[in-house]
Symmetry: C2
Subunit: 288 residues, 2 copies
């Protein structure tokens, strides 16, 4: 079994990004600048944002965090976004999701200038991706494609099962794996909450991308020998033996699946670190 080492690959990508930033600085140009909007004080959101800001520091990006109270109106939030859209010192920005319930998430995402939409959630970017055009690809699917590329995993004509149809992981993954290209051309099946006989589907797949959110769902007897298994799951499972009171579990039963799969991502250290690296990559691309 070959471990798809997202930690290592993401470090390599970040090093390459850092070199690009240093080139800009030598040319007396300003470094890329990523901004983040955070509404409210959700704990998980704060953790994600802190991690993104830390990564910006690592590669020499400038970063800005704009925080608003959870009672900000939809209109006011959209005005803030419009300010960022026209701010020439900011190359890309993200709106940390989820937003409070009184705010229409789609309306907010639509107000982002697609040229600064480094999360790739705007319909124009999503549509370009689906049509096979150049665009900002959402960071998690982009990171998975990068892992597949770096480990040179054969995808053409392979059966690929994507489990989960979210707009940020499953749906874009299903599209990317079936596009024409060196690391596409798979025969993709997209399974979701209404799918039946999931275990029959997993058993037949050469490549499985799990974005289901059920800890350790995928087990030894549900997969094909020598398959590629990508685990996007990150669920907090209570564990009183740990100081923080929980452990992070993926959708894959790592211990058993690792005895049968050919390629497998660990959790943590697989898809997670790739996601942040690709957000940085999108921001660099927005700058250049």
């Amino acid at each position: 079994m070959i471990l798809l080492d997202g930690k290592k690959i993401s470090d390599e990508i970040k090093s390459e990004i850092k070199v690009s930033v240093e080139k800009l600085i030598r040319k007396k140009e300003r470094p890329p600048h990523l901004a983040a909007i955070l509404v409210g004080d959700d704990g998980a959101s704060l953790t994600y944002i802190a991690s993104k800001i830390r990564s910006c520091d690592q590669v020499g990006f400038k970063s800005s965090l704009f925080r608003y109270n959870s009672d900000i109106s939809e209109n006011d939030l959209i005005k803030k976004i419009e300010d960022l859209n026209i701010n020439r010192e900011i190359d890309g920005f993200i709106v940390q999701l989820p937003l409070p319930k009184h705010i229409n998430e789609q309306k907010v995402l639509l107000s982002i200038d697609p040229r600064k939409d480094v999360d790739g959630f705007h319909p124009t970017n999503f549509g370009k991706m689906a049509l096979g055009l150049k665009s900002f690809i959402p960071a998690t699917p982009y990171g998975i494609m990068k892992l597949i590329e770096k480990y040179d995993i054969e995808t053409e004509g392979k059966s690929c099962l994507v489990v989960g149809r979210s707009n940020i992981v499953g749906r874009p993954m299903s599209i990317l794996m079936s596009l024409r290209g060196r690391y596409g051309n798979s025969t993709v099946t997209l399974a979701h909450s209404k799918s039946k006989n999931l275990a029959e589907l997993t058993k037949k797949a050469d490549i499985i991308i799990m974005a289901l959110g059920i800890p350790e769902f995928l087990k030894y007897d549900m997969i094909k020998k020598d398959s590629t298994i990508i685990d996007v799951g990150i669920t907090r499972v209570e564990d009183k033996s740990k100081r923080r009171g929980y452990v992070i579990k993926g959708d894959v039963d790592f211990d058993s699946v690792s005895k049968k799969a050919k390629f497998l991502t660990p959790v943590p250290g697989g898809v997670g670190p790739m996601t942040i690296a690709m957000l940085l990559q999108n921001t660099l691309d927005a700058r250049l």
Copy 2:
């Protein structure tokens, strides 16, 4: 076997559209206005356009055809499109494809105002569709979804195989069938030119959408009993016994498949007439 009668259903839809137009007229408002841009004099394109204009007449729409020589520059064509974008008398317009080779099709499509893009080919509309938002849906996939709805075909949890990954039929179909909704929620597999063992995939599918372009490819022994078969193929096959010298064949061997399928579209008279009806529907929606 139940025939999915696209001719009949499209006539019903056109009648409903006509009623909506008459309401507008009674309110002293102008009828919907569809414009088409045709570059060059490709025979098939002329036939399609003529048929679209005739359908506009049937339902009381105004229509305009803008024809340009095949040597028009890309820039000049885009200028014509920009004129239509701001023309307040035109609700929607289409650019008949294919365009001459010296013109970048994607660049041209990107210049269309998404609010007038009744073909639904602009990335913004395509992305909205993929994200489950309201948008103009490309006419052929929209017509197929309408057939499924009108015949109340069960789709939830069913396995659906889409054969062909074009941006105008296969790709959007694969997305629409797997979206949440009364006539979505299928477990969709998208097969294409790089897929292997196509006959194994077709045999397992509850619903097959064929957009392959190989006449009479799908035969009796390749399908499951009581499946739903939608045939998007329209290939001209030479037939000297016919006055025009050819017959139109679908991707499905109708005679044999009709003995085993539960629902089946004929060719012609299935998906084809639905496509034009849904283009009219999109134009009406653009007017309202």
